[in-house]
Amino acid sequence: MITFIPRDKVSKNWIIIAPILSIFFTIFFGLLIFTFLGYNPLETLYQIFVSPFSRIDRISDILVKACPLIIIGTGLMLCFKSNVWNIGAEGQFIMGALLAGFIALSFPNIETKFFLLITILAGFVGGALWAFIPAILKTKLNVNEILVSLMLVYVAMLFIDFIVRGPLRDPMSFGFPLSKPYPEGALINKIPFPGIGFLGQLHYGILFVFLLVPVSWIFVNKTLGGFKINVLGSAPQAAKFAGFKRNSITITVLLLSGGLAGVAGVIEVSANIGQLQPEVSFDYGFTAIIVAFLGRLSPVGILFAGIIIATVKLGADNAQMTMGIPKVVTGLFEGILLFFLLTGETLQKYKIKWSEGKK
């Protein structure tokens, strides 16, 4: 029989041990499942975890894939830290991309890259507006933000579908659901490397991540806003006592996370697609939830978590190409990883005691 005894303070050792142990357990269970399903487990692990690093352009593909995950994950971090459960980042991503796309397509001849500042801002506004709906319902009418933000994902998916097949459809596309291509000024270019050329899809949007991570680190650790969020999440009573306004914090974190998801949407479409199409997000919004937790709700952690999840996703592609394993294995890994990470969190707060007692 196992019992848990609360620790006096959070165990420092476990903060480091827990993520390592959870990755170890994840791999162990992954091995079991692959063996059970009849795949060569070691080769599978090689394909999923090692092969994405086997070429320099593959590594750059990891960064490209991780980029939206890290941006969205950072926004979600603020929500989750303050116990606000925004799980609709997927919809906010889409609405950000859509509003930015609308603006980009309204100026078909623009060439200056300064225009990108406007589209990125539009993306932020689009995502934030979409997150404002659960925010206002939550604070004014006490409506559960989990369900509202999630329902809005489906609405956003259908809305972009409608827009791209109707109002914004390129008349030259033979009825196919594509908008016109973005003007030059709204495109994010690939980064040229002297002597090598381009590395896969590696684009300037990555720079935003390198800007975002330190900024969010400073915000969370060094500013009053970050402090309020931390207190509100970990000690709601104390927050109340200190007079922090629960509602305004809730609205702020939802707007920020929605806005960041929207920015991720702009960067993804402007750099990798170059026009609007019915599907612009490929579960980035949902995957980023895992990234936020895997990163233990810290900016630097989320950077690494995004890279790990992106690696698994690309590795799953490679596993499919070489071994015919269905792509969904990524979900399997993400789920198990999350379970063990959360368990690790419990172990930071509690000691385990083994006892022979009756139940």
């Binding site: 097949r165 109707g166 196919f176 896969g200 993804e268 490929f282």
Partner: protein, 369 residues
């Protein structure tokens, strides 16, 4: 002991070199490397399964002379760009990308790999090393219309479309032309599923059609769900992309089968002979190869579950299309609002087909969007 560890060391060295140089050494060998990118899995028993059958024909025809790699379930976006590039990097000499949404990704990667040949299925943009191929699916729909018109008792036909794009709309209109040729009283209702593949939604749409009184169903979506519902409810329908009679032995009247094999074989042959080309047909309609019943790219399965006289009419329509005696979109064509599209004595050309955004007489409602 040293000997043993030496052996282990060399074993490791060999396996590492195999891992890292396996890809590059394959360049030196003879077989033509062919890549395929699929939107779903062959298990859809529809669109992708038809491509899988084409791929199998390639393997059978060339045997050891080709080496095929396939990637399934590739979403139409940045992932497609990456996967296609990866296939090119792995030394595939010709890559078939088998869904419309791969158009821009294919063109993008083709620019980076000028020596690799790309074959985009159902697209309309080409470049020096990107060719396009498509099937005249609508020819089969005309025959479906003929059979539906003769088989329906309620004079209501239920049609499930994926998306209101030209390819699907021309299919509906061809169906309407076939229907009109044998039965002036019947009409077609259309439900848009807004998906190519969602069995539950397709089944719901089929149920609604039947509840609304339709007794013959047609689909331009990919799963066999519609036929299964028809089978359960005593209605009839047509198989899509592949022969679906296994799912609905009593309900399937016939299936329009997409036969990609001959096209793939022809293009790979061209590549091996150094004669691969993108054709010189005009750029404004899809497919520098747009083949139909005549060129065997669209195959009509056995007529079944229908009386002999209906089967005979269907056969006549099939022969008529094959010999060119029937021109499906010959005037006079009038749309369902009464507007004349084209007068008697003329016929729509291929370009006009790809601009269709109206329904012809016999179809209810209005094209959305």
């Amino acid at each position: 002991m040293i000997k043993f560890s030496m052996r282990i060391f060399s074993l490791i060295a060999i396996s590492i070199s195999v891992l890292f140089f396996g890809i590059s050494s394959a360049f030196a060998e003879n077989p033509t490397k062919v890549g395929f990118v699929y939107l779903t899995t062959p298990g859809d028993h529809g669109w992708t399964y038809a491509h899988e059958l084409g791929k199998k024909m390639v393997e059978k025809r060339f045997g050891k002379d080709v080496k095929v790699s396939v990637v399934e379930n590739v979403p139409e976006g940045p992932d497609a760009t990456r996967v296609i590039r990866e296939l090119a990097k792995q030394g595939n000499e010709i890559i078939f990308t088998t869904s419309f949404g791969y158009m821009e990704p294919t063109l993008k990667v083709a620019k980076e790999f000028p020596n690799v040949k790309f074959e985009h299925i159902t697209g309309y943009k080409r470049s020096k090393n990107v060719a396009t191929g498509n099937i005249r699916f609508y020819e089969g729909r005309y025959i479906q219309g003929v059979v539906a018109g003769l088989m329906t008792k309620t004079n209501k036909i239920g049609y499930i479309g994926a998306y209101p794009i030209a390819e699907v709309i021309m299919g509906i209109n061809a169906f309407a032309q076939g229907l009109k040729s044998v039965n002036k009283d019947a009409s077609i209702s259309v439900i848009w599923a807004n998906t190519w593949y969602d069995p539950v939604k397709e089944a719901d749409a089929a149920k609604v059609h039947i509840a609304e009184g339709a007794d013959v169903l047609a689909q331009h979506t990919d799963s066999p769900a519609m036929l299964q519902i028809a089978e359960k409810n005593g209605a009839m329908g047509f198989g899509q992309s592949t022969d679906m009679s296994a799912f609905a032995p009593k309900a399937q009247l016939f299936a329009s089968i997409n036969n990609w094999g001959p096209y793939y074989i022809k293009k790979i042959e061209e590549l091996r002979n150094g004669k691969w080309n993108t054709g010189d047909s005009p750029n404004h309609w899809p497919g520098n190869v747009w083949g139909g019943i005549k060129s065997d790219m669209l195959v009509i399965s056995k007529f079944q579950n229908m009386p002999a006289n209906v089967a005979q009419k269907a056969q006549e329509a099939l022969d008529g299309i094959k010999t060119g005696k029937i021109n499906i979109f010959a005037g006079p064509l009038i749309d369902n609002t009464g507007k004349e599209i084209i007068p008697a004595g003329k016929a729509l050309d291929d370009g006009a087909l790809w601009g269709m955004n109206y329904y012809l007489q016999g179809v209810n409602g209005k094209v959305p969007g």
